[in-house]
């Protein structure tokens, strides 16, 4: 049996808040990056639930786009993190504050 749409929305909201909390609590760039991925997928879940309950295909199309963009973003983001680590031997965001005014 399929749970009601509200359950999907609640799950998406919980996942999103967890992602936000993880982003703010963790000081490690790699973990923060994973938190961002969690937030993205929370959004995907909400889109899919809405597409199903409204009976429209656009939501699924958007999710496909988001997955594509997230893949590209993951490639570039990870590459940047690797480069930062090579240069600075750290990925702690508190130590990366050269742009302080």
């Amino acid at each position: 049996m399929i749970p009601p749409p509200a359950a999907f929305f609640i799950l998406a909201a919980v996942l999103f808040v967890l992602g936000v909390l993880a982003f703010f609590v963790k000081k490690d760039l790699l973990t923060q990056f994973m938190a961002v991925e969690v937030m993205l997928n929370a959004g995907n879940l909400a889109f899919l639930a809405l597409a199903k309950s409204l009976g429209k295909a656009e939501g699924q199309v958007i999710v496909l786009f988001v997955i594509t963009v997230a893949a590209a973003e993951a490639v570039i983001g990870l590459a940047i993190i690797v480069l930062i680590f090579r240069q600075r031997k750290t990925v702690q965001t508190d130590e990366l504050k050269d742009l302080k005014g």
């Binding site: 982003f23 703010f24 965001t93 990366l96 504050k97 742009l99 302080k100 005014g101």
Partner: protein
Amino acid sequence: MAELFWLIPLIPGASALLLVLFGAKLSRRWVAWQACSAVFLSFLLSSAAFAHLVRLPPGAPGLTKTLFAWISSGPFTSPIAFAFDHLTAVMTLVVTGVGLLIHVYSTAYMAEDRSHARYFAHLNLFTFFMLVLVMASDLVLMFVGWEGVGLCSYLLIGFWFERPAAAKAGMKAFVVNRVGDAAFILGILFLLANVGGSSFSLINKAAGGGLLPSGLMTLVAILLFIGATGKSAQIPLYVWLPDAMEGPTPVSALIHAATMVTAGVYMVCRLSGLYAASGPASTVVAWIGAATALFAAAMALVQNDIKKVLAYSTISQIGYMFLGCGVGAYAAGMFHLVTHAFFKSLLFLAAGSVIHALAGEQDMRRMGGLRKHLPVTFPVFLVGALAISGVPFLSGFFSKDAILTGAFAGGQYALWGAGLLGAVLTAFYMFRLVYMTFYGKERTAMEPGHSIHESPRAMTIPLVILAAFSALAGYVGLPVFFGEKADLFGRYLASSVKSGSPHLAVPTEGLLVLLATASALLGIALAFVFYRRTPALPSRLASRFPGVYRLLVGKYYIDEVYDAVVVRPLVRGAEKVYERFDLKVIDGALNGSAAAAGLAGKGLNFLQSGLVRDYALAFLIGAITFLGFLLL
């Protein structure tokens, strides 16, 4: 070829542009050839246009050419339009003809100067602006030329700008001319507002037809004349011209004797309809002219610098021209302008040849006895001196006589007397110069190795040509007792300027001519007594009348008076403004706004922490706020 007349000013203009841009890279020979040929081409075109003009039936308008409108604002338009009528033809031929001779002379005189190309660029630029001035068919375009020649005058007076005196003299000329130009602009604006256009034919027609109130006409005429007193070095704005002698001598000959300084006379003749319609303005012109003629001649009596004598003489002779215009004898004024252009540029160039021979010496007290050393310069200088003194049958005699006759015929006996007295002074100071320079003992202070030598041919040939014109140019305007039709020049100009006073009876005119001749000869005789027979006499006279002598040597202390009354209060006022307004208000406002921006930056500095989390927090708060607004 006559229809190409509008190229007359543009050829020297184009040449000047080329010389300004590429002059430094061109060879001296090329620069000199280019500058001279540009003026020569203009001269050829002017001659062709002149030949075309004299073949036109009487009463026909001259050539005109409108290139384009450069100001078009509501009902007012000002075209770049050139006109070539009888009056313009005279000026154009003088500017290009005398200008060509002076260009040729300069090739030798300036041959060794460091800034050879700059000199010819500016000389060509001057020719361009002067031709724009005389060929403009409306007052606004004429003003462009008027300012342009002022600029070139400044550039060429200060040509040797590394000499402080030259830089200062250039500045003085420019600033004094500004004073006159301010009045000139006011006059133009009054005309634009009341006539509705600026073309000369329109202005003269409006003035002649009585369309303008007479008070307004007088005001405009006097405002324009104040501009002319600046450009043409008349009382009260003549003070810049003697200082302008700091420039190279050919420049003094071209700009400060033959052409630019006579622009004011040309302007008055061009607007003769306006001046003839305004009695009070004409009276002012005549009296200023007469006063300047006497006043400057008196100062020339005591100068020891050969060029300064000629400078005061120029001021005095231009005074004569204005005297002629003021009494209604416009053609006579123009006639004197032409003959003066010949003999005064001759005198300046010959003086330049003397200076050249003496390796830069200008003080007549260290000259003397040069007659033997300068076999070409001396006779041509003598011709020039005789011509300017008004000795019979040379050009100056006829033109000065035409002016004096005009004054007498107009019933202005006081002006006539002043002119006659001025003629005595003129002959006296010119022959004082001749005796001090060419006669007597040699007083040169040259080092033994340097011998006094005659100038090269490029300098002496222009001198000889000018001497021929100085001697013969007068025969185009003979007095009335050679017949009713003898005054070719006056009849030629009759279509362009207002005709003069009625002719006098032949015996009266004969008497006037005799008196003028007598006054010239008297001046020469006095100079002979003072500077040749008993050379001690001048110093005895000076110690007898120390007050008069000191007044003349001090140039009436006009420079000092201007300095105290105008220059120093202005400078002091400007300094006060600088201290109180510039430093405090303007600089304060600028520094204040800069400091405010700095403070704001410091205040907001904390926002930029460099921590990603802080930015993300701000982002989150913003997103929540935005969503809150959408939902609620």
